[in-house]
């Protein structure tokens, strides 16, 4: 293997510029847009990839549809505007933690501490804005919480990458230590941010519970769809001008249309008044927050050298090392980023829970399982090198849907745990079997 530090070693498929549609090349991990000449060819190529064990987000979208239809039949409130917003609010934490977890999973590692990093971050942010205590401004408290989370992730990453300790043990020990530290930071038995009399607490409270007014929601949507559509279209045009392989034009148009339709649906649903009395309407801030985290992490992983290195290490660490990738640096950064994103989840968690107790801190640990489950259900492999952060968002939505639906049906929490465990194991089995189905992978 030749060492080419600038190029990602996993992208060997791109080198063979075979433009004919042929099943063997298709199953060999080549993205369909590289050789499809028309929309019909593109769909056929995509279908071949799905059959070859490279299904991408398709299974999780299917799961979402099944969950939606199943629970809607069981309880007609499930797809109501009120419950859908509720469902999204519940899923936010799963989504963010799953994105954090994906940074570890892509390397072929695991981070079992994301739940308690979130717990620590939530306690830090809540304690720092207490008017009787530190009384920091809300933004300073958030920065401090995020710094602490990132630092903890970096320490764990250092233990994993420099001292070669297995990541599941480092993060297992790490979560125990965090649990203790979080309880120490909490000090007493309760800390709350629900006091409307203090500006800083109101700001924090609104991070999770605040909404854009309906008009602002529509304006933001137009801006967003415009930017995304323009970006996609320009990128396509630039590729075409330079003579690179591009997806058919109609496909780009369809993508833009899909984004617009999905966006309009979300804004329309959120703008329905969902209060029993009075008015609660508008797009929640958290949708924007999740979108920002998703876009930033996607850009980082798909468009930067750092991202290519992450996939390279996950695919084959030895090959990546020989290609000149500095494994410890990338690994440490990934764990630090997992810490950072869990820290963001922690800020939302504090805002969501409004008041934090020792028991809530202890319970934050259970989110780790759901985060791993969400990532794997979304389509991220446990064995590294395969996955995107969008998988975390979709998987988080599935988990949130299952929780929400079962709860609506009056199922007790232990049975919900049993159901989620079954889903996690099923996702892991599918992951293993689909890897087996894909050629050239162990």
């Amino acid at each position: 293997m030749t060492a080419d530090p600038g190029q990602t070693p996993v992208g060997t498929g791109v080198g063979t510029a075979d433009l004919t549609l042929d099943a063997a090349a298709v199953t060999a991990d080549v993205p369909a847009e590289l050789f499809a000449q028309s929309l019909g060819q593109y769909f056929r190529a995509s279908w071949q990839r799905v059959r070859g064990g490279n299904a991408g987000v398709l299974p999780v979208l299917l799961a979402l549809v099944v969950v939606a239809i199943g629970f809607q039949i069981a309880n007609s409130k499930f797809l109501g505007a009120q419950n859908l917003v509720n469902l999204f609010e519940q899923s936010t934490i799963y989504m963010l933690l799953a994105i954090a977890e994906i940074f570890a999973l892509l390397l072929g590692e695991i981070d079992l501490s994301v739940g308690l990093v979130m717990g620590l971050s939530s306690v830090v942010v809540a304690e720092l804005v207490q008017p009787t205590g530190a009384n920091w401004p809300w933004w300073a408290a958030i920065i401090a919480a995020l710094l602490a989370s990132t630092a903890f992730g970096a320490i764990q990453g250092t233990l994993v990458s420099r001292l070669k300790m297995p990541s599941f043990i480092v993060t297992l020990g790490g979560l125990l230590i965090l649990e203790g530290v979080a309880i120490i930071v909490l000090g007493g038995s309760l800390v709350g941010i629900g006091n409307g009399g203090f500006t800083n607490e109101v700001y924090l409270y609104n991070i999770f519970w605040g909404t854009f007014s309906p008009v602002v929601g529509w304006i933001l949507l137009v801006v967003l769809v415009g930017a995304a559509g323009g970006g996609l279209w320009l990128q396509d045009a630039r590729k075409r001008r330079r003579g690179l392989e591009t997806a058919p034009r109609s496909l780009v148009a369809m993508k833009i249309l899909l984004i617009a339709v999905a966006g309009i649906a979300v804004v329309a649903i959120c703008n329905v008044n969902r209060a029993h009395a009075g008015t609660i309407e508008g797009v929640p801030f958290i949708i924007a927050i999740v979108l920002v985290v998703l876009l930033a992490s996607t850009a980082l992983l798909q468009r930067t050298r750092f991202g290519r290195y992450v996939y390279a290490i996950g695919g084959n660490p030895e090959a990546a090392r020989r290609a000149g990738v500095r494994l410890p640096v990338i690994r440490t950064w990934c764990f630090a980023l997992a810490g950072l994103i869990s820290g963001i989840a922690g800020v939302l968690f504090a805002s969501w829970q409004v008041s934090l107790t020792t028991n809530i801190i202890k319970a934050s640990n259970s989110y780790v399982l759901l985060a791993v489950a969400a990532a794997v259900i979304g389509g991220t492999s446990l064995f590294g090198g395969r996955g995107k952060t969008i998988h975390g968002v979709l998987g988080g939505l599935v988990i949130g849907g299952i929780y929400n639906g079962l709860y609506l049906l009056g199922v007790s929490s232990q049975w919900i745990d049993v159901a989620v465990a079954a889903v996690l194991i099923a996702a892991a089995v599918i992951d293993v079997l689909s890897r087996r189905g894909a050629p050239g992978k162990a």
């Binding site: 489950a373 194991i425 293993v432």
Partner: protein
């Protein structure tokens, strides 16, 4: 590598070179000192070389236990840590960790991990407690215990099958299992706030209650000790004699004598400590808890299974190098599934002891299954079992469990106020990380 079905591939390489001279390089290369030493002095020197080569066995954990004991004796209020009543209590508390750590050791030897042992153990305890209830199933105690072991064994086999047949990483399968079994536990107990307790007036239920709480009178304790030392001593002696007669390499006679003497001294110390009155002057409480012989039986059973049977050799072979074990004809899925099943069955026994330790009460608040797992993995690794497979013995689990129990109880003795709850998390976490760090470094030192 040649395939030799009767022999374990992991040890075959060392045993083959019958080099009887004492030389530092050989001693470092994983050879037990009894194979090279001709006299007591040589034996000691060979052992020292092995320790320096990163192969220290139980020595570090024994050292750690001594340090923990001394430190807590100094810093606890009124220097109460080493009082006989506390020592007996620590042992009762530690038995759960010991049994669970032995269970975890089985899986760790295969280079896998079982994060569900805590939840499985609690299920085992809950099942046994439910089955002896009267009114209720009213099963005899032995049938209830066997049923608990069998059901938990089946749970373990199920997880083992997912790991062994599909090769899903064991920490994922058992993480899911942990969540699943934690849910099932609450369902078995019959709701989040329900309690199952033993009625000590019923002799059948009282038997399970007595497994940790029951005491053997001091006189009886001495008799049992004499029998144990006698049997262990003569079997050691005869085995050494038999080996010598057949011209096999044997440890020097002096080593055998020292071993028997050590067992006697430790046993006598335990019985002596247990014979001191730890009640009040009005109500005497003396005697050896039943749980000590119970732990000894489990330890002996697992030591014999791992060190003296073909199954045990296969476990070490798989943990050392699965591919070479497979090529030597070992059926990896079969051994792995059995390993997980036996781990869970052993854990179930730990769960029953846990309920007995909590005065025959079982509720969802008895123990946090997640914390139990962490303590368990920490106990095995601190005891000297490697996370990477192929290195460890049942005795390591017992010693590691004692260390963890000793630390946990010592912290609870210090009146730390608001710090005591966080410390019950931070200490095992820190200890786990240090133990793994040592494990990783010693493997590096050993060149593996």
């Amino acid at each position: 590598m040649t395939a030799d079905h009767g022999e374990s591939p992991a040890t075959a390489a060392g045993t083959g070179t019958a080099d009887l001279t004492l030389d530092a390089k050989v001693a470092e290369a994983d050879l037990p000192p009894q194979l090279v030493a001709q006299s007591l002095g040589e034996y000691m020197r060979a052992s020292w070389l092995r320790i320096r080569g990163g192969n220290s066995g139980v020595l570090p954990v024994i050292l750690a236990i001594v340090i923990v004991a001394v430190v807590f004796e100094i810093i606890t209020p009124e220097h109460a840590y080493l009082r006989p009543s506390n020592l007996v209590y620590i042992f009762g508390l530690s038995t759960v960790y010991m049994i669970l750590a032995i269970a975890e050791t089985i899986v760790l030897l295969l280079a896998e991990v079982d994060l569900s042992v805590g939840a499985v153990a609690l299920i085992g305890g809950a099942i046994a407690f439910k089955l002896v209830q009267q009114p209720g199933p009213n099963w005899p105690w032995w049938a209830a215990i066997l049923a608990a072991l069998a059901i938990c064994g089946a749970f373990g086999a199920l997880q083992g099958a997912l790991v062994a047949l599909l090769r899903i990483p064991s920490f994922v399968v058992t993480l899911g299992g942990f969540l699943l079994f934690s849910g099932i536990l609450i369902i078995i107990l019959g709701g989040a706030d329900s309690t199952v307790s033993l009625n000590t007036d019923d002799p059948n239920q009282n038997f399970i209650y007595d497994m940790v709480q029951g005491l053997i009178s001091p006189l009886f304790g001495w008799i049992i000790l004499a029998v144990v030392v006698g049997v262990a001593g003569t079997s050691q002696w005869f085995r050494a004699a038999a080996r010598r007669r057949r011209g096999l390499v044997t440890p020097p006679v002096g080593v055998t004598v020292i071993r028997i003497a050590l067992v006697t001294i430790v046993g006598a110390a335990v019985v002596l400590v247990c014979s001191v009155n730890r009640g009040t002057t009005l109500k005497h409480v003396t005697g050896v808890p039943w749980v000590i012989p119970i732990v000894l039986v489990v330890l002996a059973a697992w030591t014999i299974t791992l060190q003296r049977t073909r199954f045990g050799r296969y476990m070490y072979a798989i943990g050392g190098n699965p591919e070479s074990a497979r090529r030597a004809g070992v059926s990896l899925p079969k051994i792995r599934i059995w390993g997980f099943a036996l781990c869970s069955a052993t854990a179930a026994l730990g769960g029953i002891l846990l309920g007995s330790f909590f005065y025959g009460q079982y509720s969802t608040n008895t123990a946090d299954p997640g914390q139990l797992v962490l303590y368990t993995v920490a106990a095995s690794v601190i005891g000297g079992v490697s996370l990477f497979g192929g290195r460890g013995k049942a005795i390591h689990g017992v010693l590691g469990g004692l260390l963890i129990g000793g630390i946990a109880y010592g912290v609870s003795l210090l009146s730390l106020g608001s710090l005591s709850t966080p410390l019950t998390y931070i200490l095992p976490g820190g200890v786990l990380l240090i133990a793994v760090l040592i494990d990783v470094q010693s493997r590096r030192g050993a060149g593996a």
